[in-house]
């Protein structure tokens, strides 16, 4: 039992503790505390990842000494460590990236509350990643919902409140369904710990009993978590929520929150219900079809958008579709592709949202394309970040997007029949559409001002250019983001290894 092994428990506890402390500390102190806490957690998780990389096997970490039925367990493997460290790094970077907006959007006195909800958000995400107990998972799902709505509501203008309320209600519906499915599982198998439930379910399937309740449980589980992670039919809340929130919060929401629920769904499917049953289970076809619809519909809607943040939100729906298409393929290669997309999309989308924040600063806070024209020239950091983001989204080698497309196509090609054809067609159309609207935005962002339509907007742009304040922290975050994306792109080989070994340890 090397000291590193208890990193998961410690990281959750530290985040809770700091969350509470922030309540009482003054503004600047709470800011520094939150940053340190997140940095510490990130370091811990990276150490854990290195530990696993040196060849250790996944282990169960039981909380306290109480026995099985009542005690609580965490399970840590290479995949969990990697995802957790990624989440924490991105949260840190998003906070730093969106700092300027926090000041202007949230106002002085409420900043502490913002830090509290961020910390608790990260704590709940790490818990979802590590937990091995269904009920704990439900508890942290609830915490996650509340804190996510919290960081959305923090912006306090009429439109955001309406959007967050809509987001809150839809999430509660999702977690409600999730709770019902847990109750059914508990009623049927009598256990709450994932490993025990798995044995129970395996027995039931073997004896052929309770087939219907199990199906219903899986269905509710699927719908609940899809709703939380914005799979296409259930994603109508996402565009308003993510676009109206402030830069850092939308980065966290799009990048991390959605992914945590997906990670939970994968864990439940493979650890609770078991690989054998899931391989040929009908829910995967549904996930594949809705995933494909999501890919296409997300991109189509993004094509017609004239507001940069809504465009990025719709693009998230599309990318989530990608992930579910990977899961829906049913093979381990498919899930690996999904996991790669989780990692890559997290980094890219967070960076894009921060860059969008920067562009909005450089064009007087407006999100409309008309005003953003030439913003890339005024705020070069945001411009370059946007270029890297677009290249990755389009799938140019050397960038993250390429490896996702590569792995997904590899997975799709090995699967035979209609799945193969449908997914390939979807990939082609979504790549084209993504390329169109991203490069369209790129063209607008970098269009030389001379061709802008009116004289008046000429003068306006001049003052905006003067307004751009030098914000070192924001630039530092953008640079880090770009480095993170490039490393993911270049080190994609090692990332692939981590994910595949992680998955093999997963079951």
């Amino acid at each position: 039992m090397s000291p590193v092994q208890n990193v998961p428990a410690f990281s959750i506890l530290i985040l809770m503790l700091c969350g509470i402390l922030c309540l009482v500390l003054p503004r600047t102190a709470s800011r520094r505390l939150a940053d340190c806490a997140i940095a510490l957690v990130a370091a811990g998780n990276i150490a854990l990842l290195l530990y696993f990389l040196r060849g250790a096997d996944a282990y169960i970490y039981s909380m306290g000494e109480i026995g099985a039925p009542f005690g609580n367990e965490l399970r840590a493997g290479m995949l969990e460590a990697a995802v957790a460290s990624l989440f924490s790094i991105i949260t840190l970077l998003s906070l730093m990236g969106g700092r300027a907006h926090l000041r202007s959007d949230i106002g002085r006195q409420k900043v502490n509350l913002y830090y509290i909800s961020t910390l608790f958000l990260l704590c709940s995400m790490l818990a979802l990643v590590y937990t091995n107990d269904l009920f704990t998972a439900y508890v942290f799902v609830e915490i996650n919902t509340i804190t996510a709505c919290g960081i959305v509501m923090s912006k306090e203008d009429g439109y955001t409140l309406a959007a967050s309320m809509r987001y809150f209600i839809m999430s509660l519906v999702g977690s409600g369904l999730f709770l019902i499915s847990i109750c059914i599982l508990y009623a049927v198998t009598g256990h709450l710990l994932m490993s025990n439930i798995q044995e129970g379910v395996a027995q039931l399937y073997a004896q052929g009993q309770y087939r219907a309740p199990l199906q219903v449980a899986i269905a509710l589980m699927g719908v609940g978590l899809s709703l939380k992670s914005a799979l296409w039919p259930f994603s109508s809340w996402l565009p308003d929520a993510h676009s109206s929130a402030s830069a850092s919060s939308s980065a966290m929401l799009s990048g991390l929150v959605l992914k945590s629920f997906i990670f939970l769904m994968v864990k439940i499917f493979y650890r609770v219900i078991g690989v054998g049953i899931m391989r040929s289970h009908a829910v995967l076809d549904l996930l594949l079809v809705f995933g494909i619809l999501g890919m296409v519909m997300g991109s189509v809607n993004a094509l017609f958008e004239r507001d940069i943040k809504r465009l990025l939100a719709y693009s998230s729906i599309g990318q989530i579709g990608y992930i579910f298409c990977g899961i829906g393929l049913g093979t381990s290669a498919g899930v690996a592709a999904a996991m790669v997309q989780v990692a890559v999309h997290a980094c890219t989308k967070a960076m894009l949202f921060c860059a969008a924040g920067g562009l909005m600063d450089a064009s007087g806070g407006s999100k409309k394309f008309r005003d953003i024209e030439g913003a890339g020239r005024r705020d070069p950091y945001a411009g370059v970040a946007f270029i890297v983001g677009t290249l990755s989204m389009v799938g140019i080698p050397f960038f993250g997007g390429f490896i996702t497309k590569l792995s997904l196509v590899q997975a799709a090609v090995t699967v035979g029949g209609w799945r193969n054809l449908l997914s390939i067609l979807a990939i082609i159309t979504s790549t084209i559409l993504t390329a169109i609207y991203y490069i369209n935005v790129l063209a607008i962002v970098f269009r030389a001002p001379e061709t802008a339509p009116t004289k008046a907007s000429e003068k306006l742009r001049e003052e905006w250019k003067k307004q751009v304040r030098l914000d070192t922290e924001y630039e530092f975050a953008i640079i880090l983001f770009i480095i993170l994306n490039l490393t993911i792109g270049l080190q994609s080989d090692r990332l692939m290894q981590i994910i595949t070994t992680g998955l093999s340890m997963f079951g």
Partner: protein, 493 residues
């Protein structure tokens, strides 16, 4: 000279081009000399590489366990590199003068020079992934060149070009991955599918081939996917001349050649269903291209459609999957590049000097712009296939290869060749007639304002005309250089 030389050859124009928009040049002269220096350095270096560095390869980066970015100079790639590196300096010289009255020159020349490096990347790519990388970058770099003039028309053309290219690239990418995942090797020095081509996954390899054929077919303007080429005619002439006659479209055809000869081999493709499909589509495009060229009265659109048809010459030759077919295709690739760039330059010169874009407005230009129209006549005679000039040679080689193949599809190809020769004569020579022999009641003073372009434009024209004539009469060394490809592509022979 180890592999690093290849990287340098590619890096000089890309980095050089990237810096152009950033440096602010005092005068036009400074920018031109800088750009010309970069381009000349790159092409001279590449030519020296071609001479000495045959066969060296260099692994830049291991992307994943099975895939890495490698560069290799093999005879097939060096032919394309030769064409590009010879024509780029000429095109740049031409572009300096042409762009004199257009705005945003820095940005234009930046992308223009980067494009040179990326095309070299396509030529020297060692395996499919590297070629795909540079293929995609080529699209992204050329989009701003097309939308350079900023008019609504240019933007529509840019988006259309982007959509077609991205769709094509993705389809090719999927085909490539299908081959990779089923055991085929993507390396270009491993010829053919070898053991992987077992009967049961034959259908999948056929499907993959079709995906790749039509994927790369977008750039080489095969019939259903050619829509973007004529609309891209609105771009400034150096772009249409160099990219849409030489670099971009030829990279599409070059990629199809890689697929046919290096990923699949003659054994697999000869007589197969996909070969028939390919031959049929390319032969039909030959006819479609020339007929549309005859129908189009807009000068550059007419030349664009003529490019559509001539590219399918090369695709048709490649798909014959015989050594003579490969040689014929490469020969036409080079000759068509030279001829078509000359024609586009003349079109550009006419447009630059007199602003006339329609073919019917060229009456009496024979006297007004003697040099340009003379070069135009030489180039159109060559393209029509009049013997001493180079056009005939490649047309003859393709026809010979088709006759050797002697299958119904090959004969349909020959018929297409002849029909297109007739239409080429129709839509090019009528322009020469209008230019040289205006009707009796034509007042020469109406062209008083039109003078011959200055030496920036006429020098490349004259050099190209000389090249057309010399290549036509003394193709010996070039044909031997191309002959070297056969042992690489056909290890069995």
């Amino acid at each position: 000279m180890n592999g690093i030389g290849i990287l340098i050859a590619i890096a000089i124009p890309i980095l050089g081009g990237a810096f152009v928009p950033l440096l602010d040049f005092g005068s036009r002269r400074a920018r031109e000399s800088y750009v010309m220096a970069i381009v000349l350095a790159a092409s001279v270096y590449t030519l020296s590489l071609l001479a000495s560095g045959q066969g060296t390869s260099f692994v830049l980066y291991h992307l994943t366990s099975t895939i890495d970015i490698t560069f290799r100079i093999d005879r097939y790639g060096s032919i394309f590199a030769l064409l590009v590196s010879v024509l780029w300096p000429l095109a740049s010289l031409y572009a300096f003068e042409y762009m004199s009255h257009l705005h945003k020159k820095n940005r234009f020349f930046g992308f223009y020079t980067m494009c040179f490096g990326i095309t070299l990347g396509v030529a020297f790519a060692g395996n499919f992934i590297t070629m795909y990388l540079f293929y995609e970058l080529l699209t992204l770099v050329t989009v701003p060149l097309i939308t350079h003039e900023g008019t609504r028309e240019a933007k529509v053309a840019g988006v259309k070009y982007l959509v077609y290219s991205i769709a094509g690239a993705t389809a090719a990418f999927i085909g490539m991955i299908a081959v990779l995942s089923h055991g085929g090797s993507l390396e270009f020095d491993v010829i053919g599918l070898g053991s992987a081509a077992t009967p049961e996954n034959r259908r999948l390899f056929d499907l993959a081939f079709l995906f790749m054929f039509f994927g790369f077919g977008v750039k080489s303007a095969v019939w259903p996917l050619h829509g973007w080429l004529p609309t891209a005619g609105v771009a400034p002439t150096p772009v249409t001349a160099l990219l849409h006659a030489v670099a971009v479209v030829k990279s599409g055809v070059f990629a199809i050649g890689r697929v046919v000869y290096f990923t699949y081999d003659a054994g697999y493709l000869d007589g197969s269903f996909v070969q028939k499909v390919g031959l049929l589509f390319s032969a039909f495009t030959i006819i479609y291209g020339t007929v549309m060229a005859w129908k189009e009265m807009h000068f550059k659109k007419r030349l664009a459609y003529s490019t559509v048809s001539n590219l399918s010459y090369i695709v048709f030759a490649f798909l014959l999957v015989t050594p003579s077919g490969l040689e014929a295709g490469l020969l036409h690739m080079i000759f068509h590049g030279v001829m078509k760039i000359a024609l586009f330059f003349v079109a550009g010169a006419v447009m630059h000097q007199s602003g006339r874009i329609y073919v019917t407005e060229l009456r009496g230009f024979g006297k007004a712009m003697p040099v340009s129209i003379a070069v135009f006549t030489v180039a159109s005679l060559a393209l029509t296939g009049i013997p001493p000039l180079c056009g005939f040679l490649s047309k003859f080689a393709i026809a010979e290869a088709a006759v050797e193949e002697s299958t119904p599809f090959a004969y349909f190809g020959i018929a297409a060749l002849l029909i297109s020769a007739i239409f080429t004569a129709a839509y090019l020579l009528t322009i020469c007639i209008r230019a040289y022999f205006p009707p009796a009641d034509f007042e020469p003073w109406s062209l008083k304002s039109v003078k011959e372009a200055n030496w920036y434009m006429t020098l490349p024209l004259v050099l190209l005309a000389a090249a057309i004539i010399l290549l036509g009469c003394f193709p010996g060394p070039l044909m031997r250089f191309i002959g070297g490809v056969v042992p690489a592509a056909f290890p069995g022979l």
